[in-house]
């Protein structure tokens, strides 16, 4: 049984960051890179299935779409028990939206033909929560999102899982395989990758694929292949708050003043 786990190297903001000159992203030097937390749970779920399997061998493959520095994250995944790692990159991929990324992931899934494709329910930096499900749509596979519990026996044709719905409801479902499942935080306890394990994982090769290797056209990815584009990234102006003190009359006076100020601003904004 093969489980493909799509992982993303996400960016976290450092202290006192600056926006890039083109205004579309944060300057790279202010970003700290790490494995997306949801993907950590997805990987743990896959490795857990592998370790629990007594008969059927289970292979866990991690795939990430990103430039060379994503290797660090893939190595961490290898240290946590993934058997193989694939990294796909091509300069044309830059600027892709989740659907374009899904095109690439779908190509990898066709190539590897896993029974299960796990993805995190969302990524902590962009939070589209779309990549996994878009991949399922492109593959025309069964899919389910935001899993909080999963049981699958290696070699089986179906998988059972649970999803948490609003209002404390639980959804228990069964799906045919192959399927794409997106994993919610808390489904398990991701293991710790010791530095020793990470160092040892450095010896495991990471397979690097280009778009050509996957027969994906350059036009299908990047800004060209994306249906949506980033216009700008910015920090909104902070709202204001003011504690009004004094007698009832003076408080009322101040409230009226504020209403006039805000109304005036809104009026001039319209104008």
């Amino acid at each position: 049984m093969k489980i493909l786990v799509a992982v993303k190297q996400v960016a976290a903001l450092d202290e006192d960051f600056e926006i890039r000159a083109d205004g579309k992203d944060v300057e790279a030097e202010f970003l700290l890179r790490d494995l997306n937390e949801w993907d950590d749970f997805a990987l743990e779920e896959a490795v857990g299935i592998k370790e629990a399997s007594t008969g059927t061998p289970v292979e866990v493959i991690v795939v990430s779409i990103g430039p060379e520095d994503a290797d660090e994250t893939l190595r961490k995944c290898l240290a946590k028990g993934a058997d193989r790692a694939i990294r796909v990159w091509d300069d044309a991929i830059g600027g892709s939206d989740p659907i374009a990324i899904a095109q690439v992931l779908a190509a990898v899934a066709r190539r590897e033909a896993p029974e299960l494709l796990f993805a995190g329910a969302q990524s902590s930096d962009h939070a589209f929560a779309a990549t996994g499900i878009a991949t399922a749509a492109l593959l025309d596979w069964a899919h389910a999102a935001v899993l909080t519990q999963l049981s699958v026996s290696p070699g089986a044709r179906t998988a059972r899982f649970r999803r948490e719905l609003e209002g404390g409801l639980l959804h228990e479902m069964e799906t045919d395989l192959p399927a794409v499942l997106t994993i919610q935080l808390g489904i398990n306890t991701p293991r710790y990758a010791s530095l020793r394990a990470i160092k040892q994982a450095a010896a495991k090769p990471i397979e690097v694929l280009t778009l050509a290797d996957l027969s994906v056209a350059a036009q299908a990815v990047g800004e060209a292949g994306s249906l949506s584009r980033v216009r700008r990234m910015y920090i909104p102006e902070k709202g204001r708050a003011e504690m009004i003190e004094g007698s009832i009359e003076s408080q009322a006076q101040r409230v009226i003043e504020i209403i006039r100020e805000v109304a005036g601003e809104a009026a001039s904004g319209v104008a």
């Binding site: 202290e15 700290l32 306890t189 710790y192 010791s194 530095l195 020793r196 394990a197 990470i198």
Partner: protein, 709 residues
């Protein structure tokens, strides 16, 4: 008369040749049983990993005998027991040498060369010395019996904090039986020895060469007089003697035969551990072998022979049990029980001719002899156990090696896991940006040199807590001001500094430690400076004792010695005496680890403080509970914390005004504990730096940190 050859002790007089042969047969059998036992024990130790330590036999023997003869380690914190042991030890050694002398004369030199020396004046002095030795032995044993039977110190009750009464290895009554059997056997051998002597004197009272010299055996002679007075005849005495002689001889031979199988073996095993003792066992932890199949200790055979030997050296004296801060607050850890568990485990698995399957050698878990992860994570690596152990058992490296395996398998508190990941990612345990490491310098009225960019005299390794913790930042800024005012040419590494790794290593995350140590060593090596100073005892310890193993050899001191020197040189002068009643808390990593006891005390004296020591001070200082990575692990809710235990101890000091610390983690831990114990208002917790600043302040200016009365 005294010089006569006839003045000696009869050995086998009146024995039939077959009785003598029987005695020798039994004697040789006893020696055979003894030797087999020694072989089996050595085989057990050899199943451990190589220790990789230089043999250096002569200096090691010298230091071992020095400790053995002066008994300095065994007297610590239990003087009466130490003195009683000294009596037993010297009595036993003399009696052993005496018996060996007879063997040398009667069985070796006599039959082989016809040479005899065991008679005449030599024999008389021999008798006297051995009689005195017997009194020493007996006296020591009687005190030990009184201690076990009547004094009953809690450290000897073998109560296990790491097991429930229902667990199969909870019961330690066999140890108690063995303790008593040991005492009674030795006492019986000694008592029957005197009785035999007396019976022989009565029996041979007709021989002037025996009877006239009897007072050279004063105890025997006194008993003989008594027996005669009670009407014992010569013949009856001879009869009694023959029977008692067999009893005494067989018991002594049984004792010898059983040495390798019982606690008596500590005679040899403790000599071994004292010989191979590592004075830096806890300060400088062992490196991981690069080719090891798994990190740390998973199987009992992952311990080296020296560690396996030390498991057998433990005499269950309970000093580590008593000193352990985790045990004191009810955590499921007693260093003694870790050692005894592993000993029981090793005896069960490594004593047979064939090693059992590897799975049965796994020492982790909750089965008999195994060590539970809750036990291992309770340890603060404060070194109290290692420091007090009279037979040089080195608990801390054993515990850390066991933890390395837990870390590898992720068996740790989620918060600790997160902290380790954070340190890997950001280089500090606060999860702050590297850029913010030197943010505290912004409050200073002067620039602090970047030691990476310009040469400095003193490089200040600031450390995580002193850099990022808001309360400690004030102290850090205070120390910067002191150095600036004293004209010290100093600089820091800014965002080039990472967590020094001391506690990461003690958690057992050796790989991360290597990354941190190597990173800091690279940064330090590329900077130009004469020496390093730090306010953080943890950083101090690892840079001083552990970085050299990674090629980083730097001169480093704790700030207390630097401040004292500046005061002695007149670069800093006290403008007003503080007149405070204070107590001083020795940080583990400054005191026990690196013997920095005096400098802070001398500073306090110069500040005009009246220092009142706590009961547990200097080498017996009580850990704040933050060591060994415990600062990153939440303490159990409701249970007392070591820092709270310490605050209650300090509160017993009449009129205490300031509890003085000299470690950033101590400041955090104790200020918190002062609040949670409800002792706030009784006294305050202050960093020594704050007191120095206050005493240095010009009289007209307001003190840096006002101290509550």
């Amino acid at each position: 008369m005294a010089g006569s050859d006839a003045v000696t002790r009869v050995l086998f007089e009146d024995f039939t040749p077959s009785a003598v042969r029987l005695f020798y047969a039994i004697g040789y059998s006893a020696i055979a049983v003894f030797l087999y036992g020694v072989y089996a024990q050595v085989r057990k130790y050899r199943r451990g990993a190589p220790a990789g330590i230089p043999l250096n036999l002569l200096p090691r023997l010298e230091s071992m005998f020095a400790i053995l003869l002066n008994h300095r380690m065994i007297r610590r914190r239990d003087r009466p027991a130490g003195e009683a042991h000294r009596l037993i030890f010297y009595g036993f050694v003399l009696l052993f040498l005496g018996t060996a002398t007879i063997t040398l004369d009667y069985d070796i030199l006599g039959p082989l060369f016809g040479v005899h020396f065991w008679h005449g004046e030599f024999y008389l002095w021999f008798s006297l010395v051995l009689d005195v030795a017997g009194v020493m032995l007996g006296g020591g044993l009687l005190y030990m019996m009184y201690r076990r039977g009547w004094l009953k110190p809690p450290k000897l009750d073998y109560a296990r904090p790491d097991r429930a009464p229902t667990d199969p290895d909870y019961d330690r009554s066999n140890y108690v039986r063995e303790d008593w059997a040991f005492l009674w056997t030795l006492l019986t051998i000694a008592a029957t020895g005197y009785l035999l002597e007396a019976l022989r004197l009565v029996w041979l009272s007709g021989r002037p060469d025996v009877w006239d010299t009897r007072w050279w055996s004063p105890v025997g002679a006194a008993i003989a007089q008594g027996l005669q007075a009670a009407g014992l005849s010569d013949a009856a005495a001879g009869e009694w003697r023959r029977n008692l002689w067999w009893f005494h001889g067989l018991l002594a031979l049984l004792f010898i035969a059983l040495i390798p199988y019982t606690k008596v073996k500590h005679i040899f095993t403790a000599m071994g551990t004292l010989m191979f003792r590592d004075p830096k066992a806890a300060q400088r932890l062992p490196r991981e072998k690069a080719d090891a199949p798994h990190p740390g200790a998973k199987y009992i055979t992952d311990f080296n022979w020296k560690q396996l030997l030390s498991l057998d050296a433990c005499t269950k004296c309970g000093r580590c049990h008593e000193a352990c801060p985790a045990r004191a607050v009810g955590a499921p850890l007693s260093p003694r029980d870790v050692i005894l568990s592993l000993r029981e485990f090793a005896n069960r698995t490594l004593n047979s001719a064939q090693l059992p399957a590897q799975a049965e050698l796994d020492v982790h878990g909750k089965g008999p002899g195994q060590v539970a992860m809750e036990t291992l994570w309770s340890c603060r690596t404060c070194m109290a156990c290692v420091e007090v152990c009279p037979v040089a058992v080195e608990h801390v490296p054993i515990i850390v090696q066991l933890r390395r395996k837990l870390v590898e398998e992720g068996e740790m508190d989620p918060q600790l896991r997160k902290t380790l990941q954070t340190i890997h990612k950001t280089g500090n345990s606060f999860g702050e940006s590297r850029r913010k490491r030197a943010a505290w310098t912004k409050t200073l009225g002067f620039p602090v040199k970047d030691a990476r960019k310009e040469a400095v005299d003193v490089l200040w390794f600031v450390g995580d807590y002193a850099s990022f913790d808001p309360r400690n930042q004030k102290v850090t800024a205070g120390f910067a001001t002191l150095m600036h005012d004293a004209g010290v040419d100093f600089g820091i590494l800014y965002d080039g500094e990472s967590n020094a790794g001391n506690d990461v290593r003690r958690v057992g995350e050796e790989g991360l430690y290597e990354v941190l140590a190597e990173g800091n060593i690279n940064t330090l090596t590329s900077a130009t400076f004469n020496s390093i100073v730090t306010t953080d005892p943890h950083s101090y310890n690892t840079i001083r004792n552990e970085y050299p193993d990674f090629g980083g050899r730097f001169e480093i001191e704790h700030y207390t010695t630097l401040l004292l020197r500046l005061m002695q040189q007149g670069c800093l002068s006290v403008n007003r005496k503080l007149n405070l009643r204070v107590t001083f808390h020795d940080p583990c990593h400054l005191g026990r680890f690196n013997k920095g006891y005096e400098a802070p005390r001398e500073i306090l004296e110069r500040l005009g403080c009246e220092l009142v020591e706590m009961g547990r001070c200097r080498s017996n200082s009580f850990c704040c509970g933050a060591g060994g990575g415990r600062i990153w692990i939440p303490d159990p809710v409701g249970a007392e914390k070591p820092a709270q235990n310490r605050m209650r101890e300090a509160a017993t000091i009449e009129g205490l005004q300031v509890y003085v610390v000299s470690c950033p983690k101590d400041l955090t831990m104790f200020e918190d504990a002062l609040k949670t114990t409800g002792l706030e208002g009784k006294f305050v917790v202050r960093e020594l730096i704050e007191l120095v600043r206050e005493a240095l302040a010009q009289p007209q200016s307001t003190p840096a940190a006002p101290v509550a009365a």
